[in-house]
Subunit: 476 residues, 4 copies
């Protein structure tokens, strides 16, 4: 019986990006590894860094956490450099191999470059077929490689990298925050909708790009600005930074799940503080359906900020319902003789002294399949909790995502198949309340912020192509 | 520049113990590994398990976390058994090798056994010399081995394991919670003072012993009782459990640092809930020196429960001041080009959105050298905190420990060399308050509880031998 | 001071090939690994196997010996299959990485296949450039990849694999013995000159191809015939074997170094017994320049068969001059404090009891740089040899090879820069005799056999392209 | 089906010893590893080196070949030193673990030392029991540890290491060539019978001891003399060398199997050249039973020197019957689908071109079980040999060895259960001839040489204790 420690029934982001270009040679790979460690929550299955070495592109990639792939030994063996980009990745099980790790390197006489991608290309299958038919052979099964190949095709017609990347970007559809490095340039680019975040900072005269601001903090860079949807920013070896703004107007749509769960609470995304947004979700939950209770507790670690907001709004004291064991390795497998219900206690032990005889409000960010949620509530009751009121800081998860979030098939989504009351019974909560879509919209603090909430509403900011697209790329 | 991730300026416990004897063969090593993972906070440097195999003692030990030493592969390769004991260990750097890992195995024609020890023997040097002079050759540099050798010496005079262990226990002094397994018996024993915890549970008709109750929870065992100071409990292959109570009265003295920091908050130690004790410490701190502030924040993860108590007593809302990166491996080393002050941000990033412009009460369990504390406060101020009020849920740490806690030398202890006001200035806090010894005594909930608070008061429940003893065993 | 154990101043072949197609699923990867171990002398730096799995191509490759890459664990994890090909490779240091290991896998919607290549493509640079310019992106720096890409280009115009491979073969020039597997076919092909060997055998109703017959022996296959120069042989899933003979007449030219050194003595190559050819080389040497001596000794292991021939022709008894230590790992490095001259003794210890006071004829296959030869003779003299008469079973090595043999640059070739008499003095032999080119031609036993002896004569059977070609591919 | 590559039905020696004491610090561990690689044929299962570091004893041991345990990385990490000893070991499967690897280290306040042992103690069980009963606890299951413990017991009564070692040597019986190092002395000692070899050399003013002279050659040391049976030689830190000759006269008995098979042909043992001894065995065989044949071939590699002697005496030319594949790793396992008879071909391929149609004299050193011999002859016949005449350069192996050679149980010894004619039929040889015991005695070149040939004659130079002794130590 595998005790899923990395995920435990959560949605998964696909990627984190980090890159820097410095005026002089520094431990660029080391800085990048620090940035990737700060972005590790965005992908734990593989990590890779490409760096400039004598004008060429060197790289190191591997399966595992950034700190496992980039050990001190590995980092010590990498020469100083001015330029590097890095990537952490989540992938579906079948194709989780080093070959598919990013950055994806392309060596070609017209242009050698490395590319790191966060998102999902919705017309990848069409592009793949068209490129193959005209002679391209793909070297990975990672669909991000179509972007590399589109760029090469454009390079055959021009000598300008910038032109080639912009042209290529017009042929691809879907969600793409990109970092691209050539032998002497660092390019950041975001799709017109702006699904996934990308920001820019300054460090000792150099330029830093990262998926989230927490990675700027980690390396000590000063935040400068966000890359705008549809914008391309190019830094060259003279440290000149050039912006190529979006040319065609497009509907914006920041993935709202970045605020709900993906991003780190200490990140600011397109001007929105993740910490405050989550606290506001908790406050709205407290207002949506008040309840008499003795203690408000988060499910560790995902419910913490919403629980704080709930406690502040309701006046009910914040407490601890579960102690999380942080020493369980990802490969932990519980012996089958251990009762199944018991397994959860190894990772999350209910704190009997805190919950026994009390009415508990339990706050978490989402329910996917419901099984873990049911087990957690059973464990709380066994530990003596008198009532358990479940509060979820997002709406029910009903629709697929085509833009980079790995979601379960619809038959596994509990909310796709059951009413809220049915779910309440299935997880055995005394009450259950999801944050409403209306209140979710209100958590934004800026007029200009627009969300993609397609997974809750079924309404997406762009055409998603045919609905079977996702299946077509299952092997990505 | 090494970024000390495992410790970050904390005191270290030396050991965690787990053992079980079942009526029939089970995955005993697997259960024991689960118990050790639950006790991992008590020692992260080596892990070992001994188990019965065909009436003989087999074992596997290694450096690293229990989950690293006992991988699924290793555990799958271990035959089912009725009997096993395990040990996790913290050790000083010099002698951190597999040879010194526990359980310590002794194979002798009179008695083969494995022994796991939590604590420190204060007369180990004298016993070592005396045993060597009469022909014993030691096979490790681990001073716990003197216990094994004392037991063998007693076995030469008797055929009763119980008699030999009791006799040996009378010759050793200091702190010792012990688990001993022979080919068919499991023995638990605690020194007369009761420095370190040891409890007993029941699982499917079997007997389980563990340092803390959280390990009973992890394997699904039902708590039965604590081993009393000076008591020996023997479980035999017929599942008969026999108690040999203490024969000589002794002053009790549970290590108070178990409640302050060592033990997991979900453990109950000799009847005291660690969670409630820590919340009471926070409440006393709020009463000792009230302060006007906007937010109470723990230093993650050690200050959480005291911060909750402080918030509840003071009415100031509980918030988050730092986001901890849980993906930093223990071998992480920051590049020297990264500003030293910056390094702390990689592990603990101040949550600017939460603290900027606010008066923060920051709660932690202790200050050892003060350097980390100073860095944390600087980081908070840089993130915009208007005031920082430091609250420590233990008294100043002034004296050495002879009973199993690894402490810095006195020149490194900031409180040994500076007044509280000097420390406040050194860490640049607006105010600084330690929990008083008087209030620390009051956190107990039972009449019968008696603490050893020697590290704060210099008064120990037993004679510590000559004061240079600790140095004499530095190589242990 | 590295003690070069793998090579010790020898020429290096680049590859060994093995493949099989069986009527039913067998441990195809295991058979292939046995074949590769038998061909290991042809390349020790990387090994790889591709096999059919559910109609798709799976593979495993790695650096090191076949037995190191294909451990029992790895082989046990590979499912049974009907079809597999394998490759062992020698490569120059710079680009010795797993990516460049063969078989080279190409996954394309028109054709997925694996290819193993022995030889060198002389027009690879031109093909590479032309393919890149029309949109192909290469995924390795291995110049064999141009063959894969040429095949895909042809596949875009046809649905017949056989047609595509034949067409592609017409566009490439140089030396190429190839094995190609698709999901259900196994194809063997040899360049029109027939530089490198390729043979076919039968095993339990299946078809086996291998570089040398010794690999057929290893798996218990019965030898059937040699693939003819310019011929393509295709085995399909119905076990039908179809031959596509050469269509254009070409000059034949079997690499004579296959007989002198590369091939195993128990192999038969295009009808020539390597064992007998080498014995004949020794006999010719004895006739070319007779000498009075007490004992004939081979340099282990390369001079054994020629020494036997020399002893039989001359009547001088065969003895042992050196004992070779077979336990020196390839990573062995002698401490610098060990006298340089001494280092050779660790690997080859002169047998003082055998050579002291005697006149020794020492037989080896070739001299490349001369340094090892000089050291060996010095060691013999130090061990008491009265005279040392060096005999080399090949002509002086004077010219580059463009067809798959890795040779030193000309400034390192002792014969390129010195007369035979100068060499004799440099290695301090009493006499030195190389086999003449005329006698080398006579070692063949068949009328039809024609050699490429370009490295001795400078005359090659085909146009080698411009002379700087080799340099152009230095990074291959 | 495991293809036993290390042994292939051979007897096994248990150990090789090497040690050196230099006037100044050198790469002592590196020199020792070179010595061990030269002695690797004496034991391939574990290797260990102990060296002096700051007056203390450091060590590194591991399973595998010396070159695998002492990689360049490991050796680079070892500080220079004046003093080191090393050991390579063969052991029976059950107890092949690092713990039991030698040198065995003893750390005691009276004396810390490392000991390396070649041989077998015949009264180990009695000593073990007596030591345990008086308080000693053993830390390994290696019976050589009784020597360490006897030395410590003697050290409790004296301050002289020399006296303690001599006293201890008087209490132990059997075969023991020993090297012992303290913090500043190097001691070599040989049992009174002189079963196993031990010699002394000089290197740059330092002293070197080794099991065989080939190890002196490997490090460039000059041979000085043999350690005499019963003699102890002590080198101290002033490079003073003191001899303590045997005090009690004893019958000598050099293990004759050292000359037949164990020792390297380039070693001289107690004045006897192993090379010449083996050639004489071959000459005697040719005289014992002449036969008409076309070619004399050794079984590689063990029969080479005897085959040379046979060829010289008989005038029949020496040839190659089998090509040995030197790339088969020790973990090689043939797939079960490969015909069992075929497996031998992977390692030893019959050279059809050499033997087809010819009458072959096949020479090997011994027959243990006969299965490999039968397989080899079958392979030769399958390759076309017209006649096969088997010649064995030792008498039939009939009795157990108590002195350090690992032998099969008697039911597995073909000669123990069958007449020579029966064996001939079982292995399907045309004729079979063993060297007679009388001729074996004549291979010695010195008057003073006396052999132990107990395994052939059943007559041993010393009392072997009770006959079941060997069984009693099976777990060693």
């Amino acid at each position: 019986m595998r005790c899923d420690v990395a995920g435990m029934d959560k949605l998964h982001e696909e990627c984190g990006l980090f890159g820097l270009l410095m005026p002089e040679s520094v431990k660029a790979a080391w800085f990048t590894s620090v940035g990737l460690i700060a972005l590790q929550h965005r992908g734990q299955e593989s990590a890779g860094i490409a760096w400039e070495q004598d004008g060429k592109i060197a790289f190191h990639k591997g399966l595992g956490l950034a700190g496992e792939v980039f050990t001190p030994d590995v980092l010590c063996g990498i020469e100083d450099s001015r330029l590097a980009i890095g990537h952490v990745r989540y992938s579906t099980t079948g194709s989780n191999n080093t070959l598919n790790s990013q950055p994806l390197i392309t060596l070609h006489s017209k242009l050698s470059f490395a590319l790191a991608h966060n998102g999902n290309i919705t017309n990848a299958a069409e592009l793949h077929q068209s490129l193959e038919e005209s002679g391209t052979v793909f070297s990975t099964t990672n669909d991000s490689e179509v972007i590399n190949m589109c760029i090469i095709r454009q390079m055959l017609k021009t000598d300008s990298v910038e032109a080639a990347v912009l042209k290529a970007a017009q042929t691809i559809q879907g969600a793409f925050s990109l970092l691209i490095m050539t032998g002497d340039k660092l390019i950041a680019l975001r799709d017109p909708t702006g699904f996934h975040p990308l920001c820019m900072g300054r460090l000792n005269g150099g330029v830093v790009f990262a998926s989230e601001t927490c990675a700027l903090d980690a390396v000590g860079a000063d935040f400068e600005r966000y890359i705008e949807p549809g914008e391309m920013v190019v830094a060259d070896s003279n440290m000149k930074v050039t912006s190529y703004p979006a040319t065609v107007p497009a509907k914006r749509g920041l993935c709202v799940f970045e605020l709900i769960y993906f991003a780190r609470p200490d990140s600011i995304i397109d001007g929105e503080s993740v910490y405050h947004a989550r606290q506001r979700m908790g406050r709205f939950l407290a207002k949506q359906r008040p309840v008499d209770a003795d203690i408000v507790c988060p499910v560790p670690d995902s419910g913490m900020e919403a629980a704080q907001g709930y406690a502040q709004e309701s006046g009910i004291p914040l407490g601890t319902a579960f102690v999380k064991n942080r020493y369980i390795g990802r490969s932990f497998i519980a012996p089958s003789q251990l009762a199944r219900e018991q397994a959860v206690n190894i990772k999350l032990n209910p704190l009997r002294a805190s919950v026994a005889g009390r009415r508990v409000v339990l706050v978490d960010d989402s329910i996917v399949r419901g099984t873990t949620c049911a087990r957690i509530i059973r464990a709380l009751r066994k530990a003596g909790a008198k009532e358990v009121h479940m509060r979820i800081s997002s709406p029910p998860f009903l629709y697929p995502c085509f833009f980079g979030t790995d979601i379960d098939s619809s038959e596994n989504l509990i909310a796709h198949n059951h009413s809220v009351e049915e779910i309440r019974q299935m997880i055995d909560a005394d009450t259950l309340e999801y944050l409403s879509i209306e209140n979710l919209e209100k958590v934004k603090s800026l007029e200009t912020t627009q969300f993609c909430n397609g997974c809750f509403s079924g309404v997406y900011p762009v055409d998603t192509g045919h609905t079977h697209l996702k299946e077509a790329f299952e092997d990505k």
